[in-house]
């Protein structure tokens, strides 16, 4: 009977207005987050060794530099100038081997060998995990990270034409490489085992741990210190225009796949805009509900007062309004989740065709639910406050 009395003056149009706007806002948030979860793997999942925030920078090679050794090296002044840029978190130098490397593989009785080169970067920039990325003096095996492009080059360029078997990443990692390291003058020589522990899309090199590089250069190098020709830079936001401007002004270029990081940045920006729009609409819908409940309760103020005068418990008087708030918000959330799922069903196949791994399905609905719960709690508190206000 109480709820029949108090529901009088309820405006279905206002509730429907709230439902619709809250649904649209939440659907945008749920759909946007879901899309981000699903699409971000396109840009981020391919390199576990080097984070997308790291840029590999080198000087542009011009024809004038061809015979001029050291022209593309970074002097300590240039390095520290780069380090002082506001968007730089850390700078690491590439150091290269000061000796010759010959790698050979014994594959089903057919030997194969090639000249190689090694580079290393500070270990802090490599995230191989599990202690695989380390070398101690006296060890016979050297861990390597090679560019994914090299494997592709071998599989599709070389193996086909030379009649050699194609190799997957895991098979390649299982094959022991015989590394013969020879000093420049040929007087010193070491033979070691190499093992590929990872592949990178972002580093166009053959990477060894820094500790190995220091040790081997000491043992086999000529002792001449050489300046680094490539730098690895940890930047705070890869899409920053300031980075592009700086690199252009200093005639530098970024190696590796920079398209991925700027696309991922773009995706973040777009999803951010979409989410902001969704949040604004959701907030507006929240105020619609807040105001229409206030208006409804204002219209029924005499009744609220009379019910309290009869001794009705506050919670009983508030209950009909709280029910409207909870049911309307819950329905809007459910509809938004259903809409998000429908949206996902429509894009997930083409997206997977592009090579995306579908992400978790729960983030969108969970964030939507969190927003809904917060808004409902505020609304319920406001309803209760309004009831108490009509006590006297």
């Amino acid at each position: 009977m109480i709820s029949r009395l108090l529901r009088k003056n309820t405006s279905p149009a206002r509730i429907a207005g709230f439902l619709l706007s809250n649904f649209i806002g939440l659907a945008i948030i749920v759909g946007g987050l879901q899309f981000y979860e699903d699409a971000s793997s396109l840009f981020t999942s391919d390199d576990s060794f080097v984070k997308s925030d790291f840029l590999v920078v080198n000087k542009r090679v011009t024809s004038a530099d061809t015979w001029q050794k050291g022209a593309t090296s970074f002097t300590p002044e240039e390095t520290s100038e780069l380090r002082s840029q506001p968007w730089v978190r850390d700078v690491g130098e590439f150091s290269s081997a000061d000796y010759r490397v010959m790698a050979s593989v014994d594959q089903g009785g057919r030997g194969m060998s090639t000249l190689l080169f090694f580079e290393s970067i500070p270990d802090g920039f490599v995230d191989a995990g599990g202690g695989a990325w380390s070398f101690r003096e006296g060890e016979e095996t050297v861990p390597l990270i090679i560019s994914k492009d090299y494997l592709t080059l071998y599989n599709f360029g070389f193996a086909n034409s030379a009649g050699l078997p194609q190799m997957s990443e895991s098979i390649m990692s299982g094959i022991p490489l015989r590394l013969t390291l020879t000093s420049e003058d040929g007087s010193r020589r070491k033979v070691m085992q190499g093992r590929v522990v990872g592949y990178s899309n972002r580093l166009n090199t053959i990477l060894v741990p820094r500790s190995f590089m220091e040790w081997s250069n000491r043992e086999l190098g000529s002792g001449k210190a050489s300046l680094p020709s490539r730098l690895i830079v940890d930047v705070s936001s890869p899409g920053d225009v300031a980075i592009k401007d700086y690199l252009e002004a200093h005639n530098l270029e970024v190696a590796g796949d920079k398209r991925g990081s700027s696309a991922s940045y773009l995706l973040k920006v777009i999803v951010g805009i979409v989410l902001a729009v969704g949040i604004v609409i959701t907030l507006l819908s929240f105020f619609i509900l807040l105001l229409s409940m206030s208006l409804l309760m204002e219209k029924n103020r005499d009744k609220l007062h009379s019910l309290l005068m009869l001794g009705c418990p506050v919670k009983d008087v508030a209950a009909p309004y709280i029910r409207i708030v909870v049911v309307a918000s819950g329905v809007a959330w459910l509809c938004a989740v259903a809409c998000g799922e429908a949206l996902r069903a429509s894009y997930i196949r083409p997206l997977e065709g592009l090579g995306a791994e579908s992400g978790g399905w729960w983030l969108g609905p969970a964030v939507g639910l969190l927003l809904t719960v917060v808004m409902t709690v505020v609304n319920v508190a406001s309803v209760r406050r309004k009831v108490v206000a009509s006590f006297r």
């Binding site: 009977m1 009395l5 009744k303 009379s306 309290l308 005068m309 009869l310 001794g311 009705c312």
Partner: protein
């Protein structure tokens, strides 16, 4: 105790204002005053509906100013009954629905009892009429029945019979006194000239 509006005024002698008054269970009180004397204010103060007074109001020594809303609601269901002058009935509900709304909160009176009260006051034929279409006298009788659908220690009746003839006044008085006596409760009734005609020892107070 004194309503704040009277603070700056000089008021005539009163048994209530600017004095200490003790109201006890089991007594019948008739509070008489001229219009504007503060009868409704007094009822509202005791019922917790208003607090614009100077002085103190104590329930068994407990200051009413410290009572929180949920406690007031409990007191209103279990200890204090009140028929306000404006009745505060819901006009869109029938007489019976108005009474049942209160009774459903307290679970106090059985259906037969309510029917009997309607019969005593002569409005049983109007039980299913929307209250809004009833005369003020009939509404007052509905309000009286609704007021006694609960356990109480005090029942506050603000000009409860202002629109009733003498015969109905007596019937109503008898019904209320009977219920109050049964519960060992006190009746506090106000009037500006048409008092509830209670039989028994009535303590008259001038406001």
């Amino acid at each position: 105790m004194l309503p704040r509006v009277f603070v700056a005024e000089s008021i005539p002698f009163s048994d209530v204002w600017k004095s200490t008054l003790s109201l006890r269970k089991g007594n019948l009180y008739l509070i008489e005053a001229a219009s504007g004397g503060g009868k409704s204010s007094l009822c509202s103060y005791i019922y917790g509906a208003r607090t614009d007074y100077e002085g103190r109001l104590l329930f068994d020594g407990e200051d009413a100013a410290g009572i929180k809303i949920d406690r007031w609601q409990l007191l209103r269901r279990e200890s204090l009954a009140y028929l306000p002058q404006e009745l505060s009935l819901f006009p869109e509900l029938t007489a019976m629905q108005n009474i049942e709304l209160k009774n459903s909160l307290t679970g106090f009176a059985e259906k037969g009892r309510i029917e009997e009260w309607l019969h005593i006051l002569g409005i049983d034929s109007r039980r299913d009429y929307p209250v809004g279409r009833m005369s003020v006298g009939q509404q007052q009788r509905v309000g009286l029945i609704r007021a006694i659908c609960q356990p109480f220690d005090f029942i506050l009746l603000d000009e409860p019979v202002s629109h009733l003839d003498e015969e109905n006044n007596r019937k109503a008085a008898r019904m209320i006194v009977e219920e109050a006596t049964r519960q060992g409760a006190a009746i506090i009734s106000t009037s500006v000239g048409n008092p509830l005609l209670m039989e028994g020892e009535v303590i008259k107070l001038k406001l």
